[in-house]
């Protein structure tokens, strides 16, 4: 997770932003139906294709481990018998294409294989952890998105005033700090050294759910909120300033509309378009960035499972988690594009 949250929209997203290259319209589409459905179907098919490509990349990358995979996994305790058994279990004796087809075929049937370390189905091993991680990302998203939109908009309205300057400075500082620094600082402040009011780690008992003990959620959620909010707030501010300076906002003001109506009806929807893209990227980033935060707080999520799987060279788990995160990227990008289209009438007509 070396890459930080990206502040700029990129890839397929730019095609939908005003000013970007135009989206090819599907001619001959039934006008009676809402064209957004056709768009969703097309994007879902595209997403499936992307996932197919990603699955090939993941498969090839995990096969490219140096040396004999079975030996790498078993390490010093390898015996000829255990090596042979593992090669058989992983189908390492079969051609690479057959190995891929066996794996991908299993995935389509909902069978991600068995963890080699735990000797359990991957789905059972990471099922609970997916729920825990998803809940953490959800909490962070529900707090950080409205918060960043508010901060960004208000800073744009109060441009160059003290709030704007303070917000710019604060968001810049938090954007520059890696989340493990933020997390460790929060632990020192609230759990171990300065105050002793919050738990330092979240100990979710197996079979339990993170929401059973909400106090343990506070610091991990806060860390993620502090990691994501600055980016979104800064994009929201930039986008809002651009919109506030546009002709149509000036026109609306000249027509004598109240400032509240100008902002709510004309400025905000147009400023939100680019912001949705950044929110989606940051939420997708959260799914990966959550690994660091889970490590700091000993939170039982997919991050812990992935870290453990990498150190055990547990290929089926690594492949499943990598594909899951890739899938999340595809879905979040789709949602962001749909939201952008819904708030941007120009794009709707082009569908």
């Amino acid at each position: 997770m070396a890459t930080g949250p990206s502040g700029s929209a990129s890839g397929s997203i730019s095609t939908l932003i005003p000013g970007g290259p135009s989206v090819t319209a599907a001619p001959g589409m039934a006008r009676a139906r809402n064209p957004i459905w056709g768009f969703i179907v097309r994007r879902l098919l595209l997403g499936a294709f992307v996932l197919f490509l990603v699955s090939i990349v993941i498969f090839v990358a995990t096969q490219a481990l140096p040396g004999d995979t079975a030996r790498a996994i078993l390490g010093r305790t390898a015996t000829p018998a255990s090596l042979e058994a593992l090669r058989e279990q992983l189908h390492l004796n079969r051609p690479l294409v057959v190995q891929y087809l066996l794996w991908a075929g299993g995935l389509l049937r909902g069978d991600a294989g068995s963890s080699m370390a735990a000797q359990e189905p991957v789905t059972k091993l990471i099922g609970d952890r997916i729920i825990n991680s998803a809940f953490l990302v959800l909490c962070a998203g529900l707090i950080s998105i409205p918060l960043s939109v508010l901060i960004g908009s208000y800073a744009a309205l109060k441009r160059d005033k003290s709030f704007d300057v303070a917000a710019s400075l604060t968001t810049l500082v938090f954007a520059a700090l890696p989340e493990f620094v933020v997390g460790v600082t929060l632990v020192v402040l609230f759990a171990t050294t300065v105050l002793h009011v919050l738990p330092a780690v979240s100990l979710i008992p197996p079979g339990g759910r993170p929401w059973d003990e909400p106090i343990g959620m506070i610091l991990p959620t806060l860390t993620l909120v502090l990691a994501v909010t600055p980016y979104v707030a800064r994009i929201m501010r930039a986008s809002m300033i651009e919109v506030l300076e546009s002709d149509y906002v000036e026109m609306a003001r000249l027509k004598g509309l109240s400032e509240w109506i100008v902002i709510r009806r004309h400025a905000l929807p147009n400023a939100l378009g680019p912001t949705f893209q950044v929110i989606a990227l940051n939420l997708a980033y959260l799914a990966g960035g959550v690994i660091v935060v889970e490590y700091v707080f000993n939170y039982a999520g997919i991050g812990g499972a992935l870290r453990d799987a990498v150190s055990n060279r547990d290929l089926p788990v690594i492949q499943a988690v990598a594909l899951l995160i890739a899938g999340l990227y595809v879905v979040l990008n789709l949602l962001a594009d749909i939201a952008t289209i819904l708030v941007t009438p120009r794009l709707r007509t082009r569908l």
Binding site: Y295, N298, R307, D308, N312
Partner: protein, 534 residues
């Protein structure tokens, strides 16, 4: 003060109960050693911090690093460090090592004796029951030994029990078992004291119910996360254990573990990062427990591969190491300088051989005599165990002083095909006594003989066989001494240090004290039965 008055004093001070006093007097009368009497009296010998009378109750929460999805619970096997912490709660061995790594009969057996070089007899204590209420009997011992020696099970202890003939274990009566070995072996007693050679009931499997004789029963277990153990109400040592419940929690990150201890979410943790020792010490209500461990990271010179075929080169390399500097730089001082010999807790450890020090002048002259001065050599290592890369780098730095260039090769696939075929490499080992360690790493049949020891023509192997067959302790020690002298003079190991185990705990917990051995936290409070909340 004689033993009886020691017991009386302990009774008067309130360290033991009247019942324990009477039991102890009886045991003394029966001719048992004071150490085992005290241990049987329960906890009083281990009142390290806090002290006072043990109190019942509470949930003890332990954090352990080094676990993951590989975690298991098995009365006779471990894969990860948390496995150790879980095994000792539920399972016990026939003999037990005390705080000074002396073997005692404070375990499930009344005695484990070598009758003849190739024959041992095990006599069980009376009235010990498993968690399900069944009495521990000779049949369970036979089943346990057969499972331990079954190569198909892939158990941790199997390698050290090669002399046991699983088909030749005889039940003499309900509490007595006789082993007729395939060959003479004086180490069976030591093996029966290894924590991973636990006694399990007939029919035991890892996948089935976890049923042992230990102080706690397993209530729940999720690999990589946590396990909950509840008090065994029918435990055979009277009064013990003290906690109602023990929770063992996996931590991937040692810093998170320290934070949880600082925040009061845990009562004890294993293996704190050296950098955090001062943080923990400065915190009121917490204490650091540093115990002398027996783990070691050797630099291994293969005696039959260039440039190490010449013993002068091996001696020169051993003289290039500044061991104290290695302890300081690799272990932050949390270890003891070693002398190229292993098994520091063995009855026959050759501590009288002179300590080697760095001596560049002599190293250079030895290398010159061998025609190898100014040479370059590759040192292979990997991130297999903590410190393996550091020790290679520090040694390479030190070797420059003798004009030798050591290139450190950090190979992620080190334990692949090249392992055990390298001229110069780093490896890792845990605590073992001398002869069991030899069986694992220093004879041609050993699975991990990095140095390809012994040299052809050496009488090392015949000394080893004699030591295995020797029933007399004094004679056996003399033989082990002779073997160690050979390794000290001609061997391929450079052993810079033995590491310490550095743990931390809340001072609310009493009963921890530094102890020699393999396991952290006073062998996890001997299965969480000699520690309590004060």
């Amino acid at each position: 003060m004689d033993d009886k008055s020691t017991l009386e004093q302990m009774y008067l001070r309130g360290n033991i109960t009247r019942r324990q006093l009477l039991v102890g007097m009886g045991m003394l009368a029966a001719g048992l050693s004071m150490a085992s009497v005290l241990a049987a009296c329960g906890g009083s010998t281990t009142s390290g911090t806090g002290g006072g009378t043990p109190k019942k109750g509470g949930t003890f929460r332990l954090g352990v690093t080094g676990g993951g999805a590989k975690d298991i619970i098995d009365g006779q096997n471990i894969v990860t460090k948390p496995d150790q912490a879980r095994l000792v709660a539920g399972f016990e061995t026939l003999l037990v090592y005390d705080e000074n790594y002396n073997l005692t009969n404070d375990g499930l057996a009344e005695s484990v004796t070598q009758d003849k070089p190739d024959q041992w007899t095990i006599r069980l204590k009376q009235g010990i029951t498993f968690h399900d209420g069944k009495t521990l009997s000779a049949d369970d011992v036979i089943y346990s030994l057969q499972r331990m020696t079954d190569p198909k099970q892939g158990l941790f202890g199997t390698g050290g029990l090669g002399s046991i003939d699983p088909k030749n274990i005889t039940k003499m009566d309900d509490r007595t078992v006789r082993l007729n070995l395939k060959q003479a072996d004086s180490t069976i007693g030591e093996q029966m004291g290894q924590y991973y050679n636990g006694m399990v009931p007939v029919g035991y499997t890892r996948a089935g119910t976890q049923n042992g004789t230990g102080p706690y029963k397993v209530q729940s277990f999720t690999p990589g996360q946590q396990s909950v153990h509840v008090r065994n109400a029918n435990y055979w040592r009277s009064g013990q254990p003290y906690f109602d419940q023990v929770t063992v929690i996996d931590f991937p990150d040692p810093s998170a573990q320290v934070n949880a201890l600082l925040a009061g979410q845990l009562d004890a943790i294993t293996d704190i990062p050296f950098a955090q020792v001062s943080v923990v010490k400065a915190h009121s209500g917490l204490a650091v427990l540093e115990s002398p461990g027996g783990g070691w990271l050797p630099l291994c010179m293969a005696i039959d591969l260039e440039p190490f075929t010449d013993n002068r080169v091996r001696q020169a390399f051993r003289l290039m190491a500044d061991r104290q500097a290695i302890v300081t730089q690799v272990l932050s001082g949390h270890g003891r300088v070693a002398n190229d010999l292993y098994a520091p807790f063995d009855e026959g450890f050759a501590s009288d051989l002179p300590q080697r020090h760095q001596d560049f002048a002599q190293a250079k002259s030895l290398l010159k005599a061998a025609g190898k001065d100014g040479m370059t050599v590759d040192l292979h290592t990997t991130d297999g165990a903590a410190g393996m890369v550091d020790v290679a780098n520090v040694f390479a730095q030190q070797a420059k002083g003798a004009g030798i260039t050591v290139n450190v090769k950090n190979d992620p696939n080190y334990y692949g095909d090249a392992y055990l075929k390298l001229a110069f490499s780093v490896d890792f080992w845990g605590t073992r006594n001398y002869l069991p360690q030899v069986a694992n790493g220093s004879i041609p049949t050993a699975p991990y003989n990095e140095c390809h020891w012994p040299p052809s023509g050496s009488n090392y192997l015949s000394l080893y066989k004699q030591a295995l067959a020797e029933v007399d302790k004094t004679k056996r020690i003399a033989l082990k001494h002779e073997m160690q002298k050979l390794e000290y003079d001609q061997g391929g190991y450079i052993i810079p240090f033995f590491n310490n185990l550095v743990d931390a705990y809340s001072t609310k917990v009493s009963g921890f004290k530094p102890s020699k051995g393999t396991l952290n936290l006073t062998s996890f409070g001997h299965g969480y039965r000699t520690i309590w909340f004060s």
